[in-house]
């Protein structure tokens, strides 16, 4: 027999103004199973809560209904008070007779009756409530950071400086990402590598960080606090312990003409190579697809010249297994290549390049030692055209969004060009100028005024080559749309920032959602920009959406603090209102028939397969099991289960039916 306490709050005049609280308390006090009922002015106040706690102890209540405001407001308050009185907090429910009753109806009998109905519903529900304990999940205090660009580096350093272990995985031979390819960064014109490389070295030397480069995440299993990750270390064909980074092999390799990815195809590299001089780790890898030994079985010059005998041609990929409590995705972005644009020549014009390629030209350590030269003939361009929004903001071709950073880096490129080619003329074809960051607008103004860059508002309809120059045809919309034709020596397209290649597969491996453009999806666009819908996995940087460096760094630090918060306890506490698959004695074991429809609809991969074995170790049945660490309590599986084997605490079938029946029968 239940012993339920009903507490009807006046909420000052908010409820009692239209609802006869005393009557509600009296009528509901007569319900079967209600041991004690009262009304009070302000239940959420200190005296109100004391009243609640004392009533629980005095009347030995085993259930509490507080008829007051919305549970979205004070459910935690009253549950805490209930717990303090020694009663399980999940035996306390609230009936919303303010937002859903007193505030929306006039003062009359009908309103009071409705309040009575709502209280009755919760009284009957509480009778079916079970005492529940918060779920505790252990936490492994190691973070996995996927991606070694500026965002990954920042996140790794922040987490490591909190005293936690970090494993960083980067698929290129060196960390640094796109930031290492830039010459100077806006708006300060800081030398990009100068500000980046100290951080890269810090990562390599940090005692808490383990760095795997030329490696990729192979599989991720487990759940928040308990991820099990397999990392594939691709074979570098080098024994890293013996290699001293002297670089002799790279100078002797006979295969010298491989297009260098780091230089965006503008420079060449050998088959055994270090991507750039400041690489971390500064040890080479062998590109097996282009190495003579792997193609033809001959050469081995590097092995011959290596002073420490560090070359290992037969080295194989290695799988490393680690345990992590949290994962930070920081895999960055890429830019569209020029062959994306049919009207700009399908990528066949050598002097039409993308923004990253221009960065390499402008870089002092780049293929032209910092001189702006045409890729076709090495001449210095006297007229250069920058095309902004090349691919972005274009619903017709599928990249609808704005790539955010291009207006700024185009202005920067024009500025750098003018600093190097004093008699050159830069043109910029733009649609709008988006310069919203700190000192950004001033920077663009400098480019236009001090560096005399000619900004033309209009799009470029076509670029074609004639007699070694590029004819750029566009329009000037501020002059009424008149056609403009420029004979340019070089064209730089500010191509759209897109998700890095392999992003979709990686998101599926890691079990996070992604949007139609393959950028990783944040849990809430406004309030949770660095979290994903998968508990324990966070986002940092441009893998979530195009971002500039300060935003990537901020996001990375944001993700790091989420990880640190997660690691601040040895155990995770979670709300127990989760789903559970019933279990019973053999031979039935469960109503579950193992159809796993629940598994296919769970957005959180919270349903696992549990094998029921007999004494001989043979599997008799495979049943569904809910991982309470992952379940968020939506109840979709419960509605779908054909045999009603799975139910959800707090909103169980019994509870819901009871509520309905109580509501409609008085």
């Amino acid at each position: 027999m239940s012993r339920i306490g009903v507490f009807v709050c006046h909420c000052g005049e908010n409820i009692s103004g239209t609802v006869d609280c005393e009557k509600v308390a009296r009528i509901t006090g007569e319900l079967k199973g209600v041991e004690f009922s009262t009304d009070y002015k302000y239940m959420c106040s200190d005296p109100g809560q004391t009243l609640l706690k004392e009533a629980i102890k005095e009347h030995k209540l085993d259930g509490v209904v507080v008829a007051a405001c919305s549970p979205r407001m004070h459910e935690p308050t009253f549950r805490k008070a209930t717990a303090e009185a020694g009663l399980n907090p999940f035996l306390c429910e609230m009936a919303n007779i303010r937002e859903h009753c007193s505030w929306v109806h006039p003062k009359d009998d009908l309103t009071t009756e409705k309040a009575q109905d709502l209280v009755r519903v919760m009284v009957e529900k509480v009778k079916k409530n079970k005492a529940l304990n918060s779920i505790k999940v252990p936490v492994t205090k190691t973070a996995l950071v996927v991606g070694g660009g500026i965002a990954g580096i920042q996140a790794a350093l922040d987490i490591a400086n909190c005293g936690h272990k970090v494993v960083m995985v980067e698929r290129q031979p060196s960390i640094g990402g796109h930031m290492s390819q830039l010459s100077e960064t806006f708006p300060t014109l800081d030398c990009s590598q100068c500000i980046l490389t100290p951080r890269m070295v810090e990562v390599a030397q940090h005692p808490n960080i383990t760095l795997y480069t030329y490696a990729e995440v192979e599989s991720v299993d487990g759940f928040i606090g308990n991820f099990k990750v397999k990392i594939r270390k691709k074979s570098k064909s080098i024994d890293e312990d013996l290699c001293t980074g002297c670089g002799l092999c790279t100078t002797k390799c006979p295969q010298k003409k491989i297009p260098n990815e780091f230089e965006r195809g503008l420079g060449l590299r050998p088959a055994i190579y270090v991507p750039f001089p400041q690489a971390v780790p500064n040890k080479p890898v062998i590109d097996r697809e282009n190495c003579t030994y792997y193609i033809k079985g001959k050469c081995k010059v590097c092995e011959i010249v290596c002073p420490t005998k560090a070359i290992r041609f037969d080295q194989e990929d290695e799988i490393v297994e680690i345990e992590a409590g949290a994962i930070v995705m920081a895999t960055g972005f890429d830019v569209l290549k020029t062959n994306y644009f049919p009207e700009y020549g399908y990528g066949k014009y050598k002097d039409v390049i993308d923004g990253l390629a221009f960065e390499r030209l402008a870089s002092a350590s780049g293929p032209t030692q910092g001189e702006i030269r045409r890729p076709s003939d090495g001449q210095i361009p006297k007229k250069i055209v920058f095309v902004a929004c090349a691919g972005s903001r274009d619903p017709a071709k599928g990249i609808e969004y704005c790539s955010k950073i291009c207006c700024m880096y185009t202005a920067k490129h024009a500025m750098l060009y003018k600093h190097k080619v004093h008699d050159g003329i830069p043109y910029v074809f733009y649609m709008d100028i988006r310069a919203g960051g700190k000192n950004y607008e001033e920077f663009v103004r400098r480019t236009i005024v001090e560096d005399e860059t000619k900004y033309i508002r209009g799009r470029v309809s076509t670029i074609y080559e004639k007699n070694g120059t590029l004819i750029v045809k566009g329009a000037d919309t501020l002059m009424g749309g008149i056609p403009i034709e420029i004979e340019a020596d070089m064209v730089v397209l500010a191509t759209a920032g897109v998700a890095n290649h392999g992003a979709e597969e990686l998101a599926q491996t890691v079990h996070i959602s992604y949007d139609p453009y393959k950028f990783f999806a944040e849990a809430h666009p406004k309030l949770k920009p660095v979290e994903t819908n998968t508990a324990g996995i966070f986002l940092a940087g441009a893998c979530q959406a195009p971002k500039d460096i300060p935003e990537s760094v901020a996001a990375a630090s944001g993700a790091a603090v989420k990880v640190a918060a997660l690691f601040s306890n040895d155990q995770l506490t979670r709300d127990p209102l989760v789903a559970v698959v019933n279990r019973s004695a053999p031979p039935v074991y469960s109503q579950c028939v193992g159809c796993f429809l629940c598994q296919s609809v769970c957005p959180y991969q919270a349903i696992e397969r549990e094998e029921i074995k007999n004494r001989n170790g043979e599997v008799i049945k495979t049943l569904a099991r809910v991982n309470e660490g992952l379940c968020q309590g939506c109840g979709t599986c419960v509605a779908l289960c054909r045999t009603k084997a799975i139910d959800i605490h707090g909103y169980s079938n019994q509870q819901v039916y009871t509520e309905i029946m109580a509501l409609l029968n008085d």
Binding site: L336, K337, N339, Y340, P342, E343, G345, Y346, K397, G398, T462, Y464, E465, K466, N467, I471, V498
Partner: protein
């Protein structure tokens, strides 16, 4: 004898007579009989769709309905404008069944929308190209600028033919006939179209720029697949010369004439004498008739690669 439906359209009976003559002659060499859609009407061209939507759909629908009635499945439409109008009409009616019902009542004929509409290049590729190499007797060894104009490849989402910027289908075809198809920048630039009469100066400028680029790149012939293109580039040559302030001699040939010459049909049958700009193609020294098939990378409809 293979029979293929044929919709000439107005221009091929008038100012572009040589286009029909050359198409018919070429088809004959390959044992193809072109069967005109009986009682065909004007497709409406640009006039109809500028003025009255229902008219612009009914006119082409009637042609296709008549073809269906005759049991004709494939019709070749050599005029690019007619091809464009018929294709767009077929697409719009397929998207809107209620409109189809309306149009069917206007034309008082049953319309299924099952006709296969082929432009001249699609027709050649379907029925002739496989057998072309063996019939080439006089390789068309000239530097050729293939001009596609506007209507063959646009709107891409409806026509789904070739690439929109820098199409290649005609280039590939003329190479099979031995031509040296050049890469040039004005393949799909507008010639001025119907402004030939109302704004001849505009046509002179637009068509002039097209020919100038072709000539700058040393083209010896310009090849077209559309009577309008031909008319502006050929008939308006005096105005073009005036605009460019120099005399341009480069002849403009129809694709069917180029292939016709390659397979040995004489110039008169192909109607070359009807052109306004004299067609004086210098004799090339005889070469091995086997035509090397130059492997081409890009032929298919435009795919954007990221």
């Amino acid at each position: 004898m293979i029979k293929v439906g044929f919709y000439p359209g107005c221009s091929m009976k008038g100012g572009a007579r040589e286009y029909q003559e050359s198409v018919t002659a070429l088809a004959k060499v390959f044992d193809i009989e072109l069967v005109e859609v009986p009682d065909w009407n004007c497709c409406g061209a640009t006039a109809a769709h500028n003025l009255n939507k229902e008219l612009s759909l009914s006119l082409p629908a009637r042609i296709m309905a008549l073809a269906e009635k005759e049991g004709i499945t494939d019709i070749v439409v050599p005029c690019a404008a007619c091809y464009n109008r018929l294709s767009v009409t077929q697409h719009e009616l397929a998207e809107d069944p209620s409109l189809t019902v309306k149009v069917a009542s206007i034309i008082e004929l049953k319309y299924e929308g099952t006709t296969n509409i082929l432009n001249i290049i699609q027709f050649i590729d379907k029925y002739i190209t496989d057998r072309l190499a063996e019939k080439v007797v006089k390789p068309f060894d000239y530097k050729t600028a293939c001009y596609y104009g506007c209507l063959l490849v646009r709107p891409h989402s409806i026509l789904k033919f070739d690439r929109v910027e820098d199409p290649q289908s005609m280039d590939v075809l003329v190479r099979k006939a031995g031509a040296n198809a050049i890469d040039w920048a004005f393949k799909t630039e507008c010639c001025g179209a119907g402004m030939s009469v109302s704004r001849t100066d505009t046509v002179a400028r637009l068509s002039g720029n097209i020919l100038k680029d072709a000539v700058d790149r040393e083209a010896e012939v310009v090849v077209v697949a559309c009577p309008m293109c031909h008319s502006n580039l050929d008939m308006r040559r005096p105005e073009i010369n005036k605009f460019l302030e120099k005399k341009i001699d480069v002849p403009v040939l129809y694709i069917s004439q180029v292939l016709g010459l390659a397979v040995g049909i004489d110039a008169k049958t192909l109607g070359l004498n009807r052109h306004m700009t004299a067609v004086n193609l210098p004799e090339k020294p005889a070469k091995d008739t086997a035509v090397a098939d130059v492997p081409q990378k890009v032929v298919n409809t435009q795919k954007t690669e990221v």
